[in-house]
Amino acid sequence: MFSQFILSLITVIFIGGAAGYLGSLMLTKRMALIGGPLGHLALPGAALALLYHFNIFWGALGTIVIGAVIIWLLEIKTKLPMEALTGLVFAAGVALSFLILPVSQAEEALIGDISKISLIDTILAVILGIIVFLIIKKIYSKMILSGISEDLAKVEGVNVKKYNLIYLASIALIVALEVKIVGGLLTVAMLVIPASASNNFGRTLSYYSFGALAIGIISAIFGLLLFKLTGFSAGPLIILSSTFIFLISLIFKKR
């Protein structure tokens, strides 16, 4: 049987890498911050999971998907910026979760609990992490082009609506996976910080995107080692590790 530490390590590596890579795309589309509200949307699901003793991942994913679908439909209908719509939808989620969340279990839902990672969680993290990575790799350039000009992308034959949906689904999956490690409050950090740091290091798209993936993995490993050494919560330590890498990256910033 794997030790708890090895399970945790594998889990954070795959989620950290996939989140960093996905976050690099979100940053270019000025959508990085929606990872936060989506994490908050996961809270009612996580609360239900804790109450009824099922895996937090499924609870989180359930409420995120419902929220994301509402956001997607509203975007088509209203043409309002997606960030505004996300903000609109997530507030209801947060309010709802604070109504049903037992105070004794609030911490696990809010900042995650790595010691509760099971073999199933690790398998999910590995499989879904790889799937999201491959999907995002495939649509990356098309999404970037549609970020530069949606009209241009459409003329080049990119089905912008379809790709937006795939992209949002990937975000939902990754955020739901993250809830177990960093909780519903900190999901945005695993998406934004590695990409922001990588943006300071690299000036081409490939350096930037794979840099974000690498920084996501490195900070996950670093954070977990600090957790092992200090006994503080792993989630916040992972986030602080990536923040530290971001600070180092400022020295390299060329633009």
């Binding site: 270019t28 970037i144 082009l145 241009l152 459409k154 080049e156 000036r203 081409t204 798209l205 633009r255």
Partner: protein, 234 residues
């Protein structure tokens, strides 16, 4: 010049936010034309382009001959350098969206006057406005399109740069089997290069050869104010 029309538009109507932008517009574009759309701000020129490109919904008929094999190059209005500054991307990576061969990318950049191979690694957001516009023109031309849609390709470029860009476009037009649809405000350019002009202000105000229709009367009708245009005879 072959007389086959490549595009037929019949009774086109476009409404955006319950406002009629284009009303009962009909025209034809022949193969190998430089077809200019002239009109004041808000006349519906860009909207017309977007309808022709299938980017917005419309009523009426837009028919291309052989739409399945039609390759289009598009240079949208207001594609700004600042958009590129937000994304860490090199010129080469921007061209890779359309063309995988480095050699072809370099050849195209040379054709549009960006000779230094170092340009490949540069950030499009850091090019000068003239270089940036040349790069965009190269991007729209790569992959041998048959039809080009250029929406004010020289907006924000000084007079000298504008002239170079248009003579460059004209050179491409002469060398390749290209049909160009062009939106511009520059009457000199229209006069010098266009083979056909459509004056648009929601409806078609006038259309025909530039020499025949660029009269003070027509321009006043189109812009609602007196326009002094001096025809240059060389």
């Amino acid at each position: 010049m072959p007389e086959n029309s490549i595009l037929k538009v019949k009774n086109l109507n476009v409404e955006l936010d319950d406002e009629k932008i284009i009303e009962n517009l009909s025209f034809k574009v022949k193969e190998r034309e430089i077809f200019t759309i002239l009109g004041p701000n808000g006349a519906g020129k860009t909207t017309l382009f977007r309808a022709l490109l299938g980017l917005i919904s419309y009523q009426g008929e837009i028919s291309w001959t052989s739409p399945e094999s039609l390759k289009i190059g598009y240079l949208p209005e207001r594609l700004s350098r600042s958009k590129f500054k937000e994304i860490p991307i090199s010129v080469k990576e921007f061209f890779k969206f359309k063309e995988s061969s480095d050699e072809k990318i370099l050849r195209m950049l040379k054709l549009v006057g960006l000779e230094n191979p170092k340009i490949l690694e540069k950030d499009p957001g850091n090019l000068s406005s003239g270089q940036f516009q040349r790069m965009l023109i190269g991007w729209s031309l790569i992959g041998n399109p048959q039809v080009l849609f250029f929406d004010e390709p020289t907006a924000g470029i000084d007079i000298g740069g504008e002239e170079t860009i248009y003579s460059l476009l004209h050179k491409f037009w002469e060398e390749r089997n290209l049909t160009i649809l062009l939106i511009t405000h520059d009457l000199n350019i229209v006069y010098k290069y266009s083979t056909n002009v459509l004056c648009l202000n929601k409806k078609a105000i006038c259309s025909g050869l530039p020499k025949e229709i660029l009269t003070p009367e027509n321009l006043e009708k189109l812009y609602g104010t007196e326009i002094k245009f001096y025809e240059h005879t060389h």
